[in-house]
Structures are given as structure tokens and as C-alpha cells.
């Protein structure tokens, strides 16, 4: 079985924040959403997801509340806060800069 590529380090927080821009989601929902959106390429390990959520909560970028799901189960839903939206902007622009930089380096390498 081919190994799925790992998440780029430092991108998990950004992915979670981005996922939450559309609608509040519970933990499982976030993981499933990232998996679906990436066409099954990116898998968020549960072992990383929950600590990451705690970190975001602590930073005040998301907030959490218990709600009922469509199937009438209690679940903790995470919502993006204003600070989180701002943070997402910062992280996105940093990420783009980095990708661009990596791209330039790789292009350069091909020309040699």
C-alpha cells in the first residue's frame, strides 16, 4: 500500500481554519472535510487534530460549543472567530510566499 503524503509541517492549523470558514464543524467533520476536499490525499491524524484544536481554542482563533447533530447526537462544534479569520489571512499569505519561493528554487534547479 502506497504511503499517503504527510501534511506539510505547520499547515494543519491553516487547513482547520480554512475548513471552518464555510461552516462550524465538529472534530470528525473537520477531518472528513479535509480528506474529502483533498480527494483523499490529506489525512488528518486524530492524534494531531485534537491537540491542534486545543491550541487554536487557547489562541482564541476558534471557539467551541456543544450542539446536536442531524442524527441527534451531542457533538462539539468549532466556529471561526474574527481573530481566527485574521490569522488565516496571515497564514495564507505566508504560505503563498513560501510556495512561491520554493517554486522559484525548483524552477532554477530545472534550468541547470
Amino acid at each position: 500500500m502506497a504511503k499517503k503524503p504527510d501534511l506539510l509541517p505547520g499547515t494543519l492549523d491553516m487547513l482547520i481554519l480554512k475548513t471552518l470558514t464555510r461552516a462550524p464543524l465538529h472534530g470528525y467533520g473537520i477531518a472528513a472535510s479535509i480528506k474529502r476536499m483533498s480527494d483523499d490525499v490529506l489525512t488528518v491524524e486524530e492524534g494531531s487534530l485534537y491537540p491542534a484544536l486545543q491550541r487554536l481554542l487557547l489562541q482564541g482563533w476558534v471557539k467551541a460549543e456543544w450542539k446536536m447533530t442531524e442524527t441527534n447526537r451531542r457533538a462539539r462544534y468549532y466556529t471561526l472567530t474574527a481573530a481566527g479569520r485574521k490569522q488565516l489571512g496571515i497564514e495564507l499569505s505566508q504560505f503563498e510566499q513560501m510556495i512561491a519561493a520554493i517554486g522559484r528554487v525548483l524552477q532554477d534547479a530545472q534550468e541547470v
Partner: protein, 881 residues
């Protein structure tokens, strides 16, 4: 987000820890169920789906822990570590108790000694701006520091430009009339500005006023706090009352504050102004005072010394007879008070530090053995995901916990030891060491205790950490790990034992040298029979015994009455008992020899004819003094061998005459005899030239009686004192003591006894710890090699060769440890040369004795494990794994 709100959030989570945990649990359960449902909808059986979800989810406990780590304070994990460490220690009470006991002893001893060092050397003297206070004295060829004469003092005070105040103090004694009769009391005479200069203000009444110390002035007195409480019941109306000292009425003008203590005159019960010049003070050549000066702002000690040295030189030109060769000596006042104890305290502190080092190393190696046996536990924790940092932290936590417990117990040990040591200092010496009252558990010792606990914690935490980082944790899970780890441990453990043994050698050599010094000191040649001698000091009121006829009658009566006591063989009187000090000196000039005004300093003693025979001093030439050598005859003296050697080399001194510098006919006396040297100075002082003048030809009101007895001299003492009071109720007596007690109570003997006993105690502890450490290493190594030994024996190795193998290892460690220790010991002993008497730092017999003793003890300690190794049953050993 700002750290404060984050902190508040973390805090609220910490407080609602249970809720946080249960919410996390619920969230994860939900997650797993969702995953399960997805698997089922993908076509799995519910059973298979559950397992798949669980597998995907991984270790739930570990996941939770990671979330906890995000929100938790690092404190929380510290608490976890601490709880685990406590559990570990509780599981192993023997280990915990041993470790804490060893640490408590090591730390307690260090803290106690530090308490003394702090009080004596670090705390400033309890005076105003004490760093500017100098002990000001004269000096001469024989005395690096000699007293000031009153005339010189007056000139120095007037002429110097370096001191804002220059004051003097001197000792004296009075007969105080009490309810139980006359009691001699020590007192001090001071110049009027003495207390102002120190910055001491009376707590009641007033200080001496300027001009109140002049001859002919009013008789007034200041009471120290102790006298006020003891003799006047602490009554506030004492000021203005009168107290009778040696028949004169003195008005009490004030009471000194409780914290006032002046070491050099610590025993004084009454402080009076100088007033009239006594016999000594009428001569410029008689030195009986000490100076204390406060340096002017901006004046250095060197500048002040140059200033007073210049004045002294000018006085020497002006008064060559009395002042030739008299210079000046300056010393910080603190140096005068603590100078003598500094080398001892520093030596003891060094010894205590070494003991602490041994204690820590010992506990560290105990921890090491334990870390070895906990290898599997560590490996399991590592496999379950504990990071290396976390594992390391666990060990450091355990080290810190032990250190903290040791520290607390150590403070108790220290408090107890400080009280004990303070009680061991005899009263006479304690009076001169006012800093002793500041010794105790206080902020400084507490801080010191915390500091050494921290160091100990680091050392003990570091040892297992070093071991841990050297070795892959996962090895612990495999069976093969044992042999390699054993080897590794043996290397560190062995190094630690070498350190322990080396330090033990240093302490043992130190103790051996100090002990030998002490022995030699007590067995130094004194020139007389010190046993069966009872002594007592007598003060005869000079108002009653005012001339030669009256004092001579008193001396004769004392001799007659005391000789009548049962068992008394001889009775002698002297102005100074032997083994006291090279003091009460005289400058002599030999008639008929060239003289250029030099000061030929000799000990001068006025003695009765029976005194030298009573001491059993040996007559070498001529005759002893006789009853006939009295005021009606020409003056005669007996000299000691040292005087004969120094001033009459190759001549017969008998019949020669000596006098004072001017050869005043009244001072000229003839030498009639030479005795072998009787030690007048302290045990560790040089033997000085001495002259024994005939007491019957002078008049002394202050003298000592020495009684030689046939039986135990202690039994005579009460009778002796009673008889003296029967002769005249006005005689003051004090200081009754046997000669042997007096010698053992001299400062030199006490300081040596103190240091040799304490360092000896340290060394004994070090020996035990070092040997136990060696035993531990060897025993552990044997237990680790049981299988190897079994194999060897199964292959036909003899028991004797197993013995040899184990003993060789122990012998090697001991040799290296003792070897390194001996080298270090010589170095360390060189540093404490000041404390040694009659032995060199490289004293071969001490070094050899220590090497043999420690080597023997070490081999004995390793014999037990060797025997266990040799009695291994091969088949058991092979099955053991």
C-alpha cells in the same frame, strides 16, 4: 493573543480539569463512532468496523495526554513527575531513608559550619561602619603586635592625621564586694571616646564625656548588659547608684546595650575610664593598652600605617631608651577578633564541603544502581511514547525530591549541630568571640542550604541522565541489554567510587595530621611536671598589702598554711603561671657588655623560693632562690637556659649582673642559677628567654599559687581556696584549676582539639560512606555477573580464581582512589599548614596509615561480595536468566 488571557484560559481549564477531560473523552468517543459508522456504510461488519476505528484512532490515552499538554501548564506534568517520584520512593523506603539520611548528614554538617563562617567571617562587626575600625598597636622585633604605652598613645592621638578618633582599652581587675564576700571581677579601662568611636550608645544613662578619663577624674562606670542583669537585676534605677570596686566607690553612669560585645575584652564586667596612671602607665616603656582607631574618610590603612609609623620613629628619636625599635602595627579590627579562627573555620568548611561531595556522590551512585534496575520500566515508558526529555525530567525530579528532603532534614541536623558546637566552645573563649551569638538557622544559612540542595539535586539528577543519554532506551526491552548496560554502569559507578575513596583519603589525612598535631601539642616538652599541680589566682587588696613587708608576710603565711593541708608537698607563688603567654616581659641590659639601647625582651616572673622546685623545674647550674633572698639582700635572679644561651653564649652566666637600660642601681640584679626551660608561653609558641626574680624582694598584689600534691590534685582545690579565705577574708580568689586542665584549656590546645575532633568526625563519616560506596559497586557488579561467573565455574574455574577476579576489581578501584587521594591530600594539607604543629603536610607515617586503613577497610568491604560470588552454584546461576 496576549499571554495574560492565555494564562487565564489555561488557569480556568486547570480549575475545571475534570470537565475538560470528560469533554475531550466525549468528543473522541463521538469521533470514533462516526468513523465506525463510515466503515459500516463502507460494507464492514459492525465488529470489524469498531476495530478498524480503534486502530485508526490509535492510543486514546496518549492522544488525550497530548491535548492536555497543549492546555496544561508545564507545572501539571511536574506534579505528575513528583507524584510518580514520591511513589517510587515510597515503594523503596530503605533506599529513600538511606539516601535522605546521607544527604541530611552531608548538608547539615556543611550548613552548620557555614553558620559559623557566616557569623564570624561574613557578618560585619556590630559597630558603626566597622570596616573603618582599626586595631592600632605598637610592634617590636619580638612582638609583631605589642601593647601601646599610655605615653605613646597620648602622643599618637595628638599627632596623627589619619584617624577621626583614636581610643584605647586595657584590661584590669577589681575586687567586688558581694553578699558572699569579695569576688575578683575582670574589668576594662578605656579612653573617654571609646564607645563613641565604635558607634555604641548606652541604652540607659549616658556615655563617658570628653575629658572624663583624665587622671584625678571622678570614678564612674558603665555596665555591660550582662552585668546589669546578673548583678543589678536589670533595674532601671541603677544609673546614679554607686558600686564599690576594690574599695573605691564608682558611680554608675549608664548601661551598655544588649548587643554590645567587644571580643578583645569580652569578659569585662565593668567598663571604667582610664583615670589615674598606674605604676606601669607612668613609664613610657611599659606597654599595657591596645588602640582602636576610626580611619578618616578617604584615608587608607597603608596611609594610616605610614602616618603612625612616622610618629613612632620620631618618638624613638626623642626617647631612645624606651622607644628604640618600637614601630606601629595596624590591623582591621575584625581581623583581630576573627583572625585566629579564620584558618580553622575555612578548613572545617572545606572538610564539610568534601563530606557533602562524598554524600552526594554516594547517593548519586545509589540512584545509578536503581536506574539500572529500572531499565525495563524506562524502556516501557519510552515505548509507550514518553519523550526522552520527559524521562530525563523524571530522574531530575527524583533527584530534586531527595535533595529537598535531605535539605529539610539537613537544616534540622544543622540546627542541632550548631547548638552542640557552640556549647563545646568553652566560656573563656566564647567571651572573645561575640559572633557566636549570631550563629544559628537564619536567612543566610537558609539560603546556603537551598543553594547546596540545588547543587546536590543537579548532581544527582545529572548522573542517571548521563547514563540515559548514553544508551538507547530500547535496548532495555531486549535481553541482550543487560551485559552492555552492566559494563557501562561499572564504568560510571567505578569512577564515582574512585572519587569517593579519594575524597575520603583527603579527609582522613587531614584528620590524621590534625590529630597528630594535637597529640604533639599536648606532649610538647614543658620543662616541668604538669601532673599533681593545683593552681589558683589570688588578688590581695593593695590598700591592705601595701608594701614589701606586708606582702612577704602574706606569701609566707600562704605557704605555711597550705603546706599543712593533707597531701600537699610544696607550695609556690608566681606572678604568671607557666603555659600561658610570652607576656609580662622585661627589657634587660647585661652589665659589662656593649649596649646600644636594644630591647632585650625576656619573660619576667616574680616567684617565691619554692615555686621552681614545686614545678619540679630542673636546676642546671648555680642555685635556686632561697628564703634569704629578701628585701634586705642584694637582688638576685634565676634565668632559664634560653636566656643563658642567647645572652651568655659560651660563658658561665652565674655571677653576671643584669639591669634595665640605664643600669639604674636599683634595677641591677645578679644571676645565681640557671634552670632548664619551663614553658611560659603557649603550647605552640617558641621558648623565650625568662628570668625568675625573687618575689620576696618585690611586692606583688596579684599572683598565682601552685600547689604540688601527693594525691589527686582536684581534691586539694576546695581546701586550698577555703584556707586562703581563712588567712584573710579580703583575699580575692578565682580561676582555681589543675595544671593539666589549664594546659588543655589554653587557646592553642582548644583550637587544635576543636579542629582535630571535627575533621576527625568528618573523616570517620567519609570513611564509612566511601567504603559503603565501594561495597555497593562491587556487590552490584557481582550480582550483574552472576551468570558469567556461573559459566566460568561450569567451565572449571576454581572458587579461588573467582575470589581473585572480584578482589582484583575492588583492589584496582581502591588503589586508584587511594593513590589520587594521597596526591590531593598532600596538596590540601599544604593549604592548612597554619593549623599543623610539629608535622609536615607530607607526613609519611600519616599518609601510610591512612592508605593502609582505607585499603584494609575497602578490601574487607569487597570480601563479602567476593565470597558471595565464589559460592555461586553454577547450575543455579545458569538458570537464573
Amino acid at each position: 493573543m496576549n499571554p495574560v488571557t492565555r494564562f487565564v484560559k489555561k488557569l480556568s481549564i486547570l480549575l475545571g480539569r475534570k470537565r475538560f477531560s470528560s469533554e475531550l473523552d466525549e468528543e473522541m468517543v463521538f469521533h470514533r463512532e462516526q468513523a465506525e459508522m463510515e466503515f459500516i456504510s463502507g460494507g464492514m461488519t459492525p465488529e470489524a468496523a469498531r476495530y478498524a476505528a480503534m486502530r485508526q484512532f490509535g492510543n486514546a490515552a496518549r492522544l488525550k495526554e497530548r491535548s492536555h499538554e497543549v492546555v496544561g501548564f508545564s507545572m501539571e506534568t511536574v506534579v505528575q513527575d513528583l507524584r510518580f517520584a514520591l511513589r517510587q520512593l515510597r515503594k523503596n523506603p530503605g533506599f529513600a531513608a538511606t539516601a535522605i539520611l546521607i544527604l541530611a548528614l552531608g548538608m547539615g554538617v556543611s550548613e552548620a559550619i557555614f553558620g559559623f563562617v557566616d557569623a564570624a567571617l561574613l557578618e560585619p562587626l556590630p559597630f558603626h561602619d566597622p570596616n573603618r575600625l582599626m586595631a592600632v598597636d605598637e610592634n617590636s622585633a619580638m612582638f609583631p603586635r605589642s601593647n601601646l604605652s599610655r605615653a605613646d598613645y597620648e602622643d599618637w592621638k595628638r599627632q596623627n592625621r589619619s584617624f577621626s578618633s583614636l581610643e584605647v582599652y586595657g584590661g584590669t581587675g577589681y575586687l567586688l564586694r558581694t553578699a558572699s564576700g569579695l569576688e575578683p571581677v575582670p574589668a576594662a579601662r578605656v579612653s573617654d571616646g571609646f564607645f563613641r568611636s565604635l558607634g555604641v550608645k548606652p541604652m540607659l544613662g549616658r556615655d563617658f564625656l570628653p575629658g572624663e578619663d583624665l587622671p584625678g577624674g571622678r570614678k564612674i562606670v558603665l555596665l555591660p548588659y550582662g552585668t546589669w542583669m546578673k548583678r543589678f537585676g536589670g533595674r532601671s534605677d541603677v544609673v546614679g547608684q554607686s558600686v564599690t570596686l576594690s574599695g573605691d566607690a564608682y558611680t554608675i553612669v549608664g548601661v551598655l546595650p544588649r548587643e554590645f560585645a567587644f571580643g578583645p575584652r569580652g569578659i569585662a564586667e565593668f567598663w571604667v575610664p582610664l583615670l589615674d596612671k598606674n605604676g606601669c602607665e607612668q613609664r613610657r616603656s611599659c606597654h599595657n593598652l591596645d588602640g582602636v582607631g576610626r580611619l578618616r574618610d578617604g584615608v587608607t590603612m597603608q596611609a594610616a600605617l605610614a602616618d603612625v609609623t612616622g610618629i613612632a620613629a620620631e618618638l624613638a628619636r626623642q626617647y631612645p631608651g624606651s622607644n628604640q625599635g618600637q614601630g606601629a602595627s595596624l590591623l582591621p579590627l575584625s581581623e583581630l577578633i576573627v583572625g585566629k579562627v579564620r584558618p580553622i573555620l575555612l578548613t572545617l568548611l572545606g572538610g564539610a564541603a568534601l563530606l557533602l561531595l562524598i554524600a552526594c556522590v554516594n547517593v548519586a551512585s545509589l540512584l545509578l544502581v536503581r536506574s539500572e534496575t529500572r531499565k525495563r520500566e524506562i524502556a516501557v515508558r519510552g515505548a509507550l511514547g514518553a519523550t526522552r526529555v520527559r524521562l530525563v525530567r523524571q530522574f531530575v525530579t527524583e533527584g530534586m525530591l531527595l535533595a529537598a528532603a535531605g535539605c529539610v532534614a539537613g537544616i534540622a541536623v544543622a540546627g542541632w549541630m550548631m547548638t552542640l558546637l557552640k556549647h563545646l566552645v568553652p566560656k573563656t573563649m566564647a567571651d572573645g568571640m561575640p559572633f557566636l551569638s549570631g550563629v544559628g538557622v537564619n536567612a543566610h544559612t537558609g539560603m546556603f542550604a537551598a543553594a547546596i540542595a540545588l547543587l546536590a539535586a543537579l548532581l544527582m539528577g545529572a548522573t542517571p541522565v548521563v547514563r540515559l543519554s548514553f544508551q538507547d532506551i530500547r535496548d532495555g526491552l531486549g535481553d541482550g541489554g543487560r551485559a552492555s548496560a552492566g559494563r557501562f554502569w561499572r564504568r560510571i559507578g567505578a569512577n564515582l567510587v574512585v572519587v569517593e575513596l579519594a575524597v575520603a583519603v583527603v579527609l582522613l589525612v587531614g584528620a590524621g595530621l590534625l590529630g597528630k598535631s594535637f597529640y604533639l601539642l599536648l606532649h610538647v616538652e614543658n620543662g616541668f611536671d604538669t601532673t599533681h599541680l593545683a593552681t589558683v589566682q589570688v588578688m590581695a587588696p593593695d590598700k591592705i598589702y601595701s608594701d614589701n613587708a606586708k606582702t612577704t608576710a602574706l606569701y609566707r603565711q600562704i605557704k605555711r598554711r597550705l603546706l599543712a593541708l593533707p597531701g600537699v608537698q610544696a607550695v609556690g607563688l608566681t606572678t604568671d603561671l607557666p603555659v600561658q603567654c610570652n607576656c609580662d616581659t622585661d627589657w634587660i641590659r647585661i652589665v659589662g657588655k656593649p649596649f646600644h639601647g636594644e630591647h632585650n625582651e625576656v619573660d619576667e616572673r616574680d616567684v617565691t623560693p619554692d615555686y621552681l622546685p614545686a614545678l619540679k623545674a630542673r636546676l642546671l647550674r648555680g642555685r635556686m632562690l632561697t628564703e634569704d633572698d629578701n628585701a634586705s639582700k642584694p637582688q638576685v635572679i634565676v634565668i632559664n637556659e634560653a636566656l643563658a644561651r642567647k645572652y651568655f653564649p659560651g660563658e658561665d652566666p652565674i655571677g653576671q649582673k643584669v639591669g634595665n637600660g640605664e643600669l639604674d642601681p636599683k634595677s641591677v640584679r645578679e644571676i645565681v642559677g640557671v634552670v632548664a626551660n619551663v614553658r611560659e608561653g603557649g603550647l605552640d609558641d617558641e621558648l623565650w628567654p625568662a628570668e625568675y626574680e625573687a618575689m620576696f624582694q618585690g611586692s606583688d598584689n596579684y599572683f598565682a599559687v601552685a600547689v604540688r600534691t601527693a594525691q589527686d590534685e582536684k581534691t586539694v582545690m576546695p581546701l586550698m581556696v577555703k584556707t586562703l579565705h581563712e588567712i584573710d577574708a579580703n583575699l580575692g580568689t578565682f580561676g582555681e584549676i589543675t595544671m593539666t586542665d589549664q594546659i588543655e584549656g589554653t587557646q592553642a590546645a582548644l583550637l587544635h582539639r576543636f579542629s582535630s575532633w571535627l575533621v576527625g568526625g568528618f573523616a570517620a563519616l567519609a570513611l564509612v560512606l566511601g567504603v559503603v560506596g565501594l561495597y555497593g559497586v562491587v556487590a552490584y557488579s557481582v550480582s550483574q555477573r552472576t551468570r558469567e561467573i556461573g559459566v566460568r565455574m561450569a567451565m572449571g574455574a576454581q572458587r579461588s580464581s573467582v575470589y581473585k577476579m572480584v578482589m582484583r576489581e575492588a583492589g584496582w578501584l581502591t588503589t586508584v582512589g587511594v593513590g589520587i587521594g594521597l596526591v590531593c591530600a598532600v596538596g590540601v594539607s599544604l593549604l592548612m599548614r597554619k593549623l599543623l604543629f610539629g608535622v609536615e603536610a607530607w607526613d609519611v607515617s600519616t599518609l601510610a596509615a591512612v592508605a593502609v586503613a582505607l585499603g584494609g577497610a575497602a578490601l574487607a568491604a569487597s570480601f563479602l561480595p567476593a565470597r558471595r560470588a565464589a559460592s555461586v552454584n553454577p547450575s543455579d546461576a545458569l538458570r537464573a536468566e
